[in-house]
């Protein structure tokens, strides 16, 4: 009945650690999607290729939106740490808007490609492209839902320890998606156009 040799991790530390492990499993999903894209990027089946389809300025706009949203999330996290509820809510709302704008651009890009006959069913290359970028987009959508939930929790419960713990995990998620996007930009869009 003596004191523990190593202080036990609190629930926040454990949940953050568990969430990291989940993110690493997600990283493997993306790694395999990247690998699939690289294996299949030349399987055009006589259809359009990356040079025909990718609009670098659109991808750049998407990148700026997402990177900025990571910045604004950082401001939200700092506000939350300082106990500034209103500022946290405001920055989270801005983050949500930037993320939604990113998704809007991406959906528009997808719709345009499908309209010109370059949908995911056109070729192996396009299946791989839509699945990799689309999976990232689905994760961003999930992140937006998570942001909305956190906005309501902060508004209704305030910045309690459980709420702060969840916000921390959302931050991990959101920044992770940013990193994956940088990978997408570097592996898919840039080489596809250059």
């Amino acid at each position: 009945m003596s004191a523990p040799a190593v202080p036990a991790a609190g629930p926040h530390e454990e949940r953050a650690f568990g969430f990291w492990l989940y993110l690493m499993s997600d990283a493997i999903i993306f790694a395999l999607l990247f690998a699939t894209y690289l294996v299949m990027k030349d399987n055009l089946a006589g259809g359009p290729g990356s040079a025909d389809l990718f609009d670098l300025s659109n991808a750049f706009a998407e990148t700026m939106l997402l990177l900025t949203s990571s910045l604004t999330f950082g401001f939200a996290a700092l506000s939350a740490d300082a106990g500034k509820r209103g500022a946290a809510l405001a920055w989270l709302t801005v983050t949500f808007g930037l993320g939604a704008a990113f998704l809007a651009l991406e959906l528009h890009e997808f719709a345009a490609m499908i309209a010109q006959g370059a949908g995911p069913d056109r070729s192996g290359f396009l299946s791989a492209f839509f699945t990799l970028v689309g999976t990232h987009g689905l994760h961003v959508s999930g992140g937006l839902i998570f942001i909305a939930v956190m906005i309501s929790q902060i508004a209704l419960k305030g910045l309690t320890p459980p709420v702060a713990s969840r916000l921390f995990r959302l931050g991990l998620f959101w920044h992770f998606l940013d990193i994956v996007w940088i990978g997408i930009f570097s592996v898919v869009y840039l080489p596809g156009v250059l």
Binding site: A5, E13, L21, S25, V39, G124, S127
Partner: protein
């Protein structure tokens, strides 16, 4: 309204299929009827279905596994019967049905028998072994269980509504694609795997955080029981490997449902990519199945040799080596797919290398037994049977590891014999050993040893009868998955194999009788001390069954075999002066809700009932958000209640002459 679901989906086209459907439906109804007649729905709901207690969740996992063992084994009996008679004959199973049976046999045994069995045993035992009161994430633990159950439920529904996949348990395209398998079978396969796969991944995360963060004070990593080490390594494998399964099954689903071209013949598909992805998951998967079984054997061998496990450090390093190497061998599943000689050689060499750490483990177990005082408890028999039989299978694996040899034996019955030789004595005997070893811990009374022994003998003799002929048949040129054949020389071997299956059936019946007899005689076989086998590790310190919180006072650990040390020093059963309040997770029905809607979602995706899929998906999201908004998820058990429970425990210990 109902997608592509019509009345044609009912199995009215075949007596055999009708039989299977009826057994499934009547079985489910029978269980519901028994609970209703005993008036136990409230009890079942509040004490079991909504429980977040890792011990109860573990027991439910094992129950699921045993039910699915029956289901998967009936598939095996049917195949053996067909092959025994189908010389120049159609037998009694048409090809389409036979193909569904071998596909569901493999899928069930791997995903819904072996995985739940080991997850259940881990859940019951591991937290107690590390001196913890629970896993790190009790609610996620329940979600994992109910997602697994949903996947299993989907497989059972496929017997009643629609058909199952005919593409084998690995579902290779292009055969499993929309062009050649346009029905619902492959979709049932995909969604069962996806749903239960999420559950498994969550369990992997849960177990790693539990082991790394919840060990009792003083229990460094190198003082953990061997079973816990194998759980840690298997859980790391789960996190690395299961994403590959998620990705490949999703891609196949996208090909089938939306017309993508990942694995189609035309349109820029790459069929070989499927094979790579599925085996990047598939090979680590078999190590996920086997490592915890090896951990069980380590525990059993030490306890029933009354001796410290020999070579603990080498066992730890061997386990870690196996885990690492398991990611370097996957191509040996498709040596014949056309990789260059250099590529094949690399994977062939790595496959042979991975046999070495397992050999180290076998020697460690043998050296543990050497000069020990052996008790031939049924668990020890399973272990001894494993050691002999598994080594044979391992040697055939080293033979298959040679690419030129594998070119001859790939997809022959030699391969079938090899992997059953690994999984049955390796994994399944390990789970049976663990089941009989830890049953008293879970339920408070021991299993009947005589029926356990009979089960063992029928299983091991049945195994040899069933699978040794298959090695010979492989050399004689018989391919796997054959619904009929015309070579008369094969038939005696297949009849022998069928006899083996019948012997195993008797072994299963013995397991059932063992359970019945043990429950009937439970008062006589009560485990009053919590330590029926003079165990060495901390799970034997708790009561049998344990209190909800496992340990009223968290033990202090200063070496290996912590409980053995405590007994030796006389500090195992000291009454504490005072007790503390203990935080326990509240029950929650949200896990069950998520499981139910996951099952609905899977069914809807199979039959293209889009509104139901969307609705079920939304319901799951809402359930998650509701849970994520709950801050009061724990309840306090007052110290007085702890004292009462512990008082009863110390009385039982005194009655057992221990404290």
């Amino acid at each position: 309204m109902l997608g592509r679901l019509t009345l044609d989906a009912l199995p009215l086209y075949s007596w055999v299929a009708m039989g299977g459907a009826l057994v499934t439906v009547l079985g489910g109804l029978a269980i519901a009827l028994v609970i209703t007649m005993m008036g136990k729905w409230r009890y079942v709901w509040s004490e079991w279905l909504t429980s977040l207690d890792h011990k109860r969740i573990g027991i439910m996992y094992v129950m699921l596994a045993l039910i699915m063992l029956l289901r998967g084994f009936i598939d095996a009996l049917m195949m053996r019967a067909q092959q025994a008679v189908a010389l120049n004959s159609e037998g009694y199973l048409p090809p389409d049905h036979f193909d569904q049976i071998f596909s569901s046999h493999g899928t069930i045994m791997i995903f819904f028998m072996a995985m739940p069995f080991l997850t259940g045993l881990i859940n019951i035992v591991m937290p107690q072994q590390i001196g913890s009161r629970d896993v790190a994430f009790p609610f996620l633990n329940a979600v994992s269980l109910w997602l697994t159950a949903a996947g299993a439920g989907l497989m059972l529904v496929s017997l009643v509504i629609g058909k199952f996949s005919t593409a084998g348990w690995t579902g290779y395209p292009p055969y499993s694609g929309a062009a050649y398998s346009p029905g619902v079978g492959v979709d049932y396969w995909i969604w069962s795997l996806q749903i239960s796969g999420v559950g498994t991944t969550l369990s992997g995360i849960n177990f790693i955080v539990t082991i790394l963060k919840r060990r009792a004070p003083g229990m460094t990593l190198m003082r953990m029981p061997m079973f816990t080490w194998t759980v840690l390594c298997a859980s790391v494998l789960i996190i690395f490997a299961f994403p590959a399964l998620t990705v490949v099954a999703s891609m196949l689903a996208l090909d089938r449902m939306v017309g993508m071209h990942f694995f189609t013949n035309a349109g820029g598909g790459n069929v070989m990519h499927y094979v790579n992805l599925i085996w990047i998951w598939g090979h680590p998967e078999v190590y996920i199945l086997i490592l915890p079984a090896f951990g069980i054997f380590s525990e059993v061998v030490a306890t029933f040799s009354a001796k410290r496990l020999f070579g603990y450090a080498s066992l730890v390093y061997a386990t870690a080596a196996i885990a690492l190497l398991s990611f370097t061998v996957w191509l040996h599943h498709f040596f014949t797919m056309g990789a260059s000689a250099n590529v094949n050689a690399f994977f062939g060499i790595m496959t042979m290398v991975i046999a070495v750490p397992t050999g180290v483990k076998v020697f460690d177990w043998l050296m543990t037994m050497y000069r020990g005082r052996i008790t031939f408890h049924p668990s020890m028999k399973w272990t001894l049977g494993f050691m002999v039989t598994f080594v044979i299978g391992g040697m055939t694996g080293v033979l298959l590891a040679l690419p030129p040899a594998d070119y001859l034996m790939h997809n022959s019955t030699f391969l079938v014999a090899h992997f059953h030789n690994m999984l049955i004595p390796g994994a399944l005997f390990g789970y049976f050993a663990g089941y009989m070893y830890w049953f008293p811990k879970a339920f408070g009374f021991t299993l009947d040893a005589r029926w356990g022994t009979r089960a063992f003998w029928f299983w091991i003799v049945g195994f040899y009868f069933a699978f040794m002929p298959l090695y010979a048949l492989g050399f004689m040129g018989m391919s796997r998955r054959m619904e009929r054949y015309s070579i008369a020389e094969w038939q005696p071997f297949l009849i022998t194999a069928a006899i083996g299956a019948v012997l195993v059936l008797i072994g299963i019946v013995c397991l059932g009788i063992q359970l019945y007899v043990s429950i009937r005689d439970r008062k006589a076989n009560r485990d009053t001390t919590g330590d029926p086998w003079n165990g060495r590790t901390l799970e034997w310190l708790t009561a049998s069954p344990p209190a909800p919180y496992n340990f009223a006072v968290v033990p202090q650990v200063d070496g290996l075999d912590a409980f053995h040390e405590m007994k030796r020093r006389g500090t195992a059963y000291l009454r504490p002066e005072r007790y503390e309040d203990i935080e326990m997770p509240k029950n929650s029905g949200i896990g069950v809700v998520i499981g139910i809607f996951a099952g609905v979602f899977g069914f809807a995706m199979v039959w293209y009932i889009w509104w139901a899929a969307a609705g079920a998906g939304l319901a799951i999201l809402v359930a998650i958000i509701v849970r994520a908004s709950q801050d009061e998820t724990e309840t306090l058990m007052p110290a007085a209640e702890v004292k009462r429970i512990e008082g009863a425990r110390f009385e039982a210990l005194s009655a057992g002459g221990v404290a």
